[in-house]
Symmetry: D4
Subunit: 202 residues, 8 copies
């Protein structure tokens, strides 16, 4: 598209037939395609198609080529293992858009020393995608420690007041740690799109 | 009272005359009294009375004696200077109830190194009252680093989504860092009362 | 961990395989483990492992030893029978962390006389965990009657305005009965962790 | 009016001139009138009119006769002194509508023994209007102890999560103590109107 | 119980075994019992017991005798057919408590003429229970037309902004039509209990 | 503008100087102008300009000509006198855009008979703008009685749960009375603009 | 009905038997009927009846005749394919009420050029029903470009903060683009009813 | 600081004395300083200090040097003139951090043609800060038209449902236009800090 982001399809409200049509049209035109938020049933229904599927991330890609070795790299950090699904949606989307990705999982602030051992790597990063649910303290903590911009992806992991991700979202938006920007709850794709626009601009 | 907490008066919805009556009654009976959430106008209107007033904390005490040197000590830590008013309400209330208090201000997580230099002291604390507004990341960070229980006091410091303290409250409740308990937004008095019940139990 | 709380696993967002891995790793290293918020399906899938399972509380423990007879005791009181699941999560967690526990169930305020007969016991308690849903009146009522600190655990028991526990939470936070502190809705584990940090501090 | 409730005027959004017009029209027609939610400025602006004004309750009445001695009596109980303004709006409105009223103030649940000494009186009441802010525990506690129906009037007294009365409202609606009905936050007038419809039906 | 309301059980969070135990205990002691909010599965599981079940209302009664012919009668009016389940919970509960009940269904305000033909009956009623979801306009409309007090039961019937009953609840509380009191969303039982306390007081 | 609506200026966030500039520019170009949501201070600061000011409605017009006699007429009905300010913003805006307007005030549903006497007029209307705060029952009641479309303007008149107009808004959106459409709370201007687009289309 | 809108039935809270009864009664009286919000199960259960069913729109009609060729036409535009179900509910309802309908799907603002090619058609429209979820930017964009009034139908399509349609609703209500009016989330039927009242008035 | 962002002070909760102390300390150490969210009173109280004050933006800078001519440039676009204050906070902060800035004001989507004439400029931008209140449609519209990343700053400009900026925030987060990231409501400073981290990384 004219905005520089390759086309992606949001599967959540589409029928199997609609998805199949879209995918086959791209296949015939030899145009790469990213599909996000696939359900388990949709993945099964499309299993005969030549898709590269990640069931945890609920993504599929068609005709994706690996990012070139000189492509900029982003780091995706997660607070807990439960945030891995969203982190992988971000990672798969970013690779589809031409970025290289490194994931550092389970560094959540309840135990800061787990984060500390990755600080040298984070200090060298050009852009960090931070993925966290619950109270989302990872966002200000990382932004307070590194020079790179932080794209926060709040996740819907949590219960009680933290259910559905609103506390993590509030943490990302309400912090005064400079350099944190935010996307919608569970929107790993959106974080990747912003990272691509930032790092791959002509 | 039979719950072990000396009587306290919540000034916010009382007239000057009502407050004066209560204070003078205690004065005559020689019973110590704590008054919280005084407005500037109330403080002025009561300025002829023998009260020990802290205008920033908006508290006043009558007939308060200093806590004995062997009294247990609590630590009150604040994220920013803006949280100091609530921190001082907590500190003044705790001293009134018989605890010794040490305040460590402005260690907020946007710069973790400011917190780090106080870690040895915090590691020795028996109970920490943590006071923070904005995104309230101080609560899980402190609780993840020390063995003492943490009583979180969210403050109404912040704007936008963090206005009125709801994000800081969510952070205190939604965290999975073990050992954080929480009181109402801006309720420094409540944190002190809980600390007194915990540390001064017979 | 360095905070004095033995490791615990939150099962809700983990796969059967992930849980099995974590449990077996602890089994091999002979390290005790607490698992919380297990679903019925997860309990079944792990039924071959040497776990001590409480299906109502949705907890499992590995290698737990009984708390020593001189361990401090806490009292867990519930408003209704529906709050028992959360109360048992609190109790099992507290025992796992080394506390002795006594549960008093179904004393809810709609009939205060049911609470009254337990008052002598409650008056002797060093710490009370109060578990209530609906309107959560148990929290201020208990705190107004006893000298011990009260850790309130609001539960998601209720419907209409009380659905998901927000009214009970508001009751715990909004009361002016001194000495009530609060954890997240349904967070029996968190109440136990705070109790352990309070009573087992070195 | 045809619903049996004498006319009342809600002053909050009316100009001084509009209020003066309405009052003088009633004066000329010799029709009793109740005005509620008057501001201090409005009270001053209307001070030349033959009104019976209660500044704390923010009510004024015109041509009110005392309720007959055989009129049914209601009891108005308040949790704290801060709830007295709303309680007096309820009491003044009820008397205007022909009920006798007795107010019992400051029996809030943080100290249940203050409520206990009034239980014999409450047990004889035909209808209780309970007025409370903060966490509103007064509503279930009273309803659990007496046979009379309880009309709950949540007040906007409180701060933090209890600000503006929503927690007290939730307590009134969310309780399972049978026999509690509820009106809007601070709506003492509405409680009186319902009491009049209940007790003065032909 | 000492509040004059016969015991009732809220089934929603109880196991089949717990319900069976409670019911059989009452059966043995020959004490009448009301069970509310039964699921279809629970009804089936208890089908061998001598219960009087209303599947639409999700209620069951044990040992209920018909209200005496001289018992006071209440009127239950509903806005739509979808509100009938809650209306029947109210009606069955009221009859269990000794009131006679008449239901007038589907008089919702979208067509006021349907309500008009029942006005003579409503004008004679001593107490009206009004049951409505969606925007809940039935509450002020009925209260503006009749002398009897109106107990509003908002229902969770609706979608979009009206989902879960909050708009109907707001209508019941926010109206200035005098004489409306309110219970929790879907709480037909609570309306009946209040009606019984009002009309059956000694 | 190309959408057929003459230009209007929203004064709320503009300085006196900015407003003066805009108005004088229109004056010089002889282009009619509508200004909405003027504060009392702004009205005073601009009092030397040749504006047609309505202080209650907080509107001012420049170079407005009267609507032609054959222009379509709309009816503006209000629930209470407190809703008159917003009703007049709607009326003044509609006249500015070329519609004739008739206002019927204070027909609120708490007394339906006040509405009934206007039904013949309303039955002939081509479009009704209904303005109501509190519980907003006027919207479904009017729409259930007439053939004309109803543009609902919820107002911020109310208190407690009805404060700021959210219940009235919910009533307008949540009703199942067909033919009600809605604009923002207090947005009389928006209702007028929609009426003009509906009735003055070429 | 006397409001000019043919009768319609909201299926969501009705049993199969209730629906069958209503439909057969209309069939016998030869009265056309529209049924909305049918579930898949309900559609199956009623499959023997002579209904015209649209499973995507979840509507069914009985005895519907095609709108006459001279009937006014409305345009229904959707932001995405996921909004098509609600758009079709609007379209089917409008045709049932006697309007001609043209649907333009998937013109959402993320790619404005897709909207641009339809601008000439939209410029000629007498009334536009705009259907959008997510952030609902379609509403102000369309209203800023055309002279016709826009009835906005926010949809529950979205996730995170946009879940359940509240952001799209806010966009429809909060915009200052003149001429946008709004109905409830997912209420395609309501938009059609308003369009019919606007365009088919006698 | 070690994150690459020069120190900034949030004035909103600081006393005049506290601000004066901080500023003078920086003056003595010859360290540049940015102060944000100054009130009119604070600006006056500090008027003797050598600050560069922008009263509309409520910012002040000390010892700021102009950004070098080869510094990267960002574009700040606003929907309306009311959003200019926040836009200028962003612009002043960005210049203080070393970026060049160009502001394009009042291009809001209610008139898309105003945006269109700036498209060539926007198409060349490396980063766009978009500032909008009300319904915030500017965010998806701009992001759908340009290749540059868009940092959305929702503003608290609006009323009714759009009051305090929550609808604009929802628009920024809920859009599916790729490449939009978001900061807190009114947080122009935060947008500038993120832009600086993005464009000035070593
Ligand atoms: N700042 C405060 N926040 C919460 N509760 C308070 C505060 N200050 C005093 N209290 C409690 O409120 C009660 C007094 O309420 P009152 O009788 O209205 O003055 C005391 O018993 C205290 O326990
Ligand atoms: N404090 C109050 N709260 C709620 N409703 C009130 C109050 N005072 C008067 N009313 C009702 O509001 C109606 C008057 O509204 P208005 O015509 O605006 O003065 C009366 O008929 C009363 O029933
Ligand atoms: N009271 C009002 N409410 C909503 N929109 C308005 C109002 N008054 C004017 N407007 C619209 O807001 C736009 C002007 O915004 P501005 O350029 O900020 O003055 C105009 O084009 C009108 O369509
Ligand atoms: N307008 C603003 N909004 C959010 N954060 C800010 C703002 N201005 C300054 N800050 C940040 O808040 C921190 C200062 O907080 P304080 O120590 O309370 O002045 C600084 O480190 C800045 O990163
Ligand atoms: Mg982990
Ligand atoms: Mg600071
Ligand atoms: Mg029980
Ligand atoms: Mg008191
Ligand atoms: Mg019906
Ligand atoms: Mg009136
Ligand atoms: Mg699409
Ligand atoms: Mg403008």
């Amino acid at each position: 598209a004219r905005t520089g982001i390759p086309e992606a399809v949001f599967a959540e409200s589409k029928s199997d037939a609609q998805l199949r049509d879209i995918i086959q049209a791209h296949q015939e035109r030899k145009v790469p395609l990213l599909v996000t938020r696939l359900s388990g049933d949709q993945i099964e229904a499309l299993s005969d198609l030549p898709l590269n599927v990640d069931p945890l991330a609920r993504t599929a890609t068609l005709l994706k080529s690996a990012p070139p070795p000189q492509a900029p790299q982003i780091m995706v950090v997660t607070a807990g293992t439960s945030d891995l699904a969203v982190a992988r949606e971000a990672a798969n989307s970013a690779e589809f858009m031409g970025l290289r990705v490194r994931i550092i999982a389970d560094v959540g602030v309840a135990g800061l020393w787990r984060l500390e051992k990755h600080l040298p790597d984070l200090a060298r990063a050009r852009l960090i995608v931070a993925v966290a649910g619950m109270e989302g303290a990872l966002f200000p903590v990382v932004a307070g420690l590194v020079a790179a911009p932080v794209i926060a992806v709040p996740t819907s992991v949590g219960y009680g007041v933290a259910k559905d991700g609103s506390v993590a979202l509030g943490s990302a938006l309400g912090t005064c740690a400079p350099g944190v920007v935010c996307v919608n709850i569970d929107n790993g794709f959106g974080a990747a799109a912003a990272a691509a626009k930032i790092l791959l601009a002509p």
